[in-house]
């Protein structure tokens, strides 16, 4: 099932200029340009297993000036490229199929922190958790907290509009980015949004966030910082049925309380975490647990805690426990945040799926997922952001076993279809990338896909930045208008893989 990477070079529609590597090395230094297949192995995948694409070259600028020079050289030579942060993405969005990887991880300066006005300006390669540690001394935090926070970059977070458990209350990346200096694929620099006030006109900042690397590269990002809450309480409620936990989730949301986070883990996930080094003390025999965090002012949190406790108990919770201290709280969270890592114990490969459903459909969808997993004889571990209906059904499997891979692929497809049928979305925080492109037509009419294509063309008329991702090119008006004889040379067919298809 592997796409033979080697043949791509011949069929590539992009004519590579001679000695591109040498000219890039003049800008960034020879040690920051990789061209040998063995060196590029690390960059041939991202956090999504099953997909491998071999880049032609990888280049890592160390300063803003170098990044600008690199992009301008690529523009001059019309070379396509893929911006890449830490490569922790889960949608295949950072894969570069015989084109240039432009890694931003060396651009990791925290340029300034304005404590009084609660904002910071950072380079795109700054790691999410590093920013948080940096501002913690001032009683501030950067709210979006994807599970990969210890590795993922702010630039990547902006590209994916990353979320995390705490975005239930605090919002996703979009709600925390005020301005971005963008290096367009043409090499021009534009300021989107404003760090010192609210602009009018079109929300170009909002368009760029979540554009999955297709609109250019962020050179710096002005983020909003949030004061640390006065009080935090973390509750662990356990249930003997998945359905009860799902009903309690709905009841908490309907009560009007906005928890900082409301996370769900099912039995298989609990047990795999408890078997791992991340054991958090979750009850092994439970069929589901909810991790509910409340934060805010001391008085308000105390009152909400009693309401949540009552809802859980009335909803059939066997036990409701509140973390006694920070150490216990961190332990409960570590189990949740490292759950994906712990699943590595089950099998060599893991698909972390991402879909969203209306919150009221939670009990129904969890039943359907269970039925699908039985039908295809796969083990689904559900660990997800229940508070906003953002599911992560995960399947651990061996991509080396073609029969198993096929079953996994079918199960995932049926799960996605069930979420779409429930009125949901195909992705809540991981992005479309390569993986979900095949589903775009099932949730958007052609006119919407067309509008997306056109929006992209405004930022990147040559479609050189992360080509072949997010929106299938055959949905674009411009492409449809081409005579059939010319379409073949414009489309990049091997990038349109089957959704979620595990590739050995």
């Amino acid at each position: 099932m592997t796409q033979p990477a080697a043949t791509r070079a011949e069929s590539s529609p992009f004519a590579y200029p001679p000695d591109l590597a040498g000219r890039l090395a003049e800008i960034v230094g020879a040690q920051h340009v990789l061209g040998r297949p063995s060196e590029l192995l690390v960059y041939n995948s991202d956090g999504l297993p099953g997909y491998r694409r071999q880049p032609r070259l990888a280049v890592f600028p160390g300063t803003r000036e170098e990044a600008i020079a690199v992009v301008r050289l690529l523009a001059e030579e019309k070379v396509p490229f893929v911006p890449r942060g830490a490569g922790t993405g889960l949608s295949g969005g950072a894969l570069a199929d015989d084109i240039v990887v432009l890694g931003v991880h060396r651009l990791k300066k925290i340029i300034s922190v304005d404590v009084e006005n609660r904002r910071a300006i950072v380079e795109p390669g700054v790691v999410n958790l590093k920013l948080n540690r940096h501002v913690a001394a001032h009683g501030l935090l950067y709210a979006p907290d994807p599970s990969s926070e210890s590795a993922c970059t702010i630039g990547g977070n902006v590209a994916e509009n990353a979320g995390g458990p705490h975005c239930l209350k605090y919002g996703v990346t979009l709600n925390h980015v005020l301005a971005i200096t963008v290096l367009l694929p043409s090499g021009e620099i534009v300021e989107l949004g404003s760090g010192v006030g609210e602009r009018d006109g079109y929300d170009l900042r909002g368009s760029f966030i979540g554009s999955e690397g297709c609109f250019g590269l962020a050179l710096d990002v002005t983020v909003k910082l949030t004061p640390k809450p006065q009080a935090v309480r973390t509750i662990l409620a356990d249930f003997m049925s998945v359905n009860q936990a799902a009903q309690v989730t709905s009841a908490v949301i309907a009560s009007g309380i906005v928890p900082a986070a409301l996370e769900f883990m099912d039995g298989p996930t609990i047990r795999v975490v408890e078997d791992s080094i991340y054991a958090a003390g979750y009850p092994r025999d439970a069929e589901a647990i909810l991790l509910i965090e409340l934060d805010g002012l001391e008085a308000g949190v105390a009152a909400d805690l009693e309401t949540v406790r009552r809802i859980c108990t009335e909803g059939g919770a066997r036990d409701v426990r509140v973390a006694r201290d920070e150490a216990e709280r961190m332990k409960l969270w570590q189990g949740r945040k490292k759950a994906f890592g712990a699943m590595g114990r089950l099998a060599p490969h893991l698909i972390v799926q991402d879909a969203v459903i209306p919150r009221t459909k939670l009990p129904e969808i969890l039943d359907i997922i269970h039925a699908i997993s039985e039908k295809h004889r796969v083990v689904v571990c559900n660990v997800f952001h229940a508070g906003d209906g953002n599911l992560h059904p995960n399947i651990a499997y061996s991509a080396d076993d073609p029969a198993e891979s096929e079953r996994v692929h079918r199960a995932m497809k049926e799960i996605m279809q069930a979420c779409i049928a429930a009125g949901g979305s195909i992705t809540g925080e991981h992005g479309v990338g390569l993986d979900k492109m095949g589903y775009m037509e099932s949730i958007f009419p052609e006119t919407s896909l067309n509008a997306m294509c056109e929006l992209r063309s405004v930022f990147d008329p040559e479609r050189r930045s992360n080509p072949g991702k997010v929106v299938p090119i055959h949905s674009c008006r411009e492409w449809q208008a081409l005579p059939a004889s010319r379409r073949a040379e414009r489309e990049t067919p091997p990038l349109e893989a089957e959704p979620s298809r595990p590739v050995a």
Partner: protein
């Protein structure tokens, strides 16, 4: 009417190159730059709730539905849309979203684009386009709903909107803090209030003219709204009382404040770094020009100036002329006498990216042409 019939009208206008003036409730047609269109496309009859799932805290409404109608429908289920733009509550949700109009609640609940989950619109070719979805978290594809929000009808005719709702708070109380004293004293009271860990739903400083109009006295006032469970409201009210002299005020003051915009000729806002705005608040609020209403959202860093009478428009534009848009602030006009626009703010969409977007979504330039300025 239906989305299809609106699409048919736009399609016809696209074919005949007939510019259209897009109107919601029609209450705010003098806002924005003069529109060069003879024909009006009204969404006034496009009303009603299409879908409301209280337990999901989401609602889908037709664009002509008024804010008052949404408030009534959601109140029955003890929920609300925390979106309080200045002006009448009979204004439509479509116009509110198209103009991204926000009010005092924005510093807690976000700007209109933060409350929009998805929308349906008709582009300048007369095609029906759907953006976003009906779920509270969604990153599928490029974000068209944010782009349409605040585009003033110039990229598409918004026909239907899905919004995020919140549960009504158990307790909702408003307090008024009189801001008397020297500029220095007022600034220090404000800093003290902002330094205390409080999370008011709204905190608005109003100048003398507004205080007088709202019957709150003859000095600038800080209006602060605490809501949530009763424990959190009581604790915050007590904390506030420790810092400043405050009296409880009727919550209707918020509606009164919004409605002062009613017959304004000019309205503008200056936004900057919150701390900078707090530093100049006392001076700005102390200016007592009859007919000019000044208010400040200290947490959002926004100063708003509204001139209620024709004569006062002059004073406020002079005020604005003194505030050059710079690295340190952003100046945004909502309403101005028509003749002032070309001089004060000819266009906010003349940059290449905005031009490209306008051309892609409305190639014949028939949707509200000129409202955000010329595209080239």
């Amino acid at each position: 009417m239906s989305t299809e019939s609106i699409a048919a009208q736009v399609k016809e206008s696209f074919a005949s190159h007939t510019p259209l003036r897009i109107a919601g409730g029609g209450y705010w047609l003098d806002a924005g730059r003069p529109v060069r269109a003879e024909k009006t496309l009204s969404l006034r009859s496009e009303t009603g709730v299409t879908a409301y799932v209280p337990a999901d805290l989401t609602i889908t409404v037709r664009a002509g539905t008024t804010l008052a109608e949404i408030a009534a429908a959601t109140r029955e289920r003890n929920q609300w849309l925390p979106l309080d733009p200045y002006g009448t509550i009979d204004g439509s949700i479509g116009a509110t979203i198209a103009t991204a109009s926000a009010g005092p609640l924005a510093s807690s609940f976000g700007l209109p684009r933060d409350l929009v989950l998805g929308l349906e619109f008709v582009n300048g070719r007369g095609e029906i386009v759907r953006a976003g979805g009906k779920v509270v978290k969604n990153v599928a594809g490029f974000d068209l709903s944010r782009l349409l929000t605040g585009s003033w009808g110039s990229l598409g005719v918004i026909t239907e909107i899905t919004l995020r709702l919140y549960a009504l708070p158990e307790v909702d109380r408003t307090f008024a803090v009189e801001l008397r004293g020297s500029e220095k004293q007022i600034a220090s009271i404000l800093r003290a209030i902002l330094a205390v860990p409080m999370s008011p739903y709204a905190f608005q400083l109003v100048g003398v003219s507004i205080a007088r109009a709202l019957h709150l006295g003859e000095a600038p006032v800080g209006l602060i709204r605490f809501a949530g469970n009763s424990a959190v409201v009581t604790a915050q009210a007590a904390a506030l009382a420790q810092i400043a002299n405050c009296d409880e005020a009727e919550s209707s003051k918020w509606v009164d404040l919004r409605q002062l915009d009613g017959d304004s000729h000019t309205s503008l806002r200056i936004s900057s770094l919150p701390q900078r705005v707090v530093g100049t608040a006392a001076r700005i609020l102390g200016d007592d020009v009859p007919g000019v209403f000044t208010s400040i959202d200290p947490r959002r860093g926004v100063i708003r100036v509204v001139a209620g009478a024709a004569g006062a428009a002059h004073a406020s534009t002079e005020f604005a002329a003194g505030v050059e848009p710079s690295d340190a602030s952003q100046l945004v006009f909502e309403k101005l006498p028509a003749e002032l626009w070309p001089a004060v703010s000819p266009s906010v969409v003349s940059d290449p990216l905005s031009q490209g977007i306008k051309k892609a979504f409305d190639p014949a330039n028939i949707l509200n042409p000129g409202i955000l300025g010329d595209i080239n």
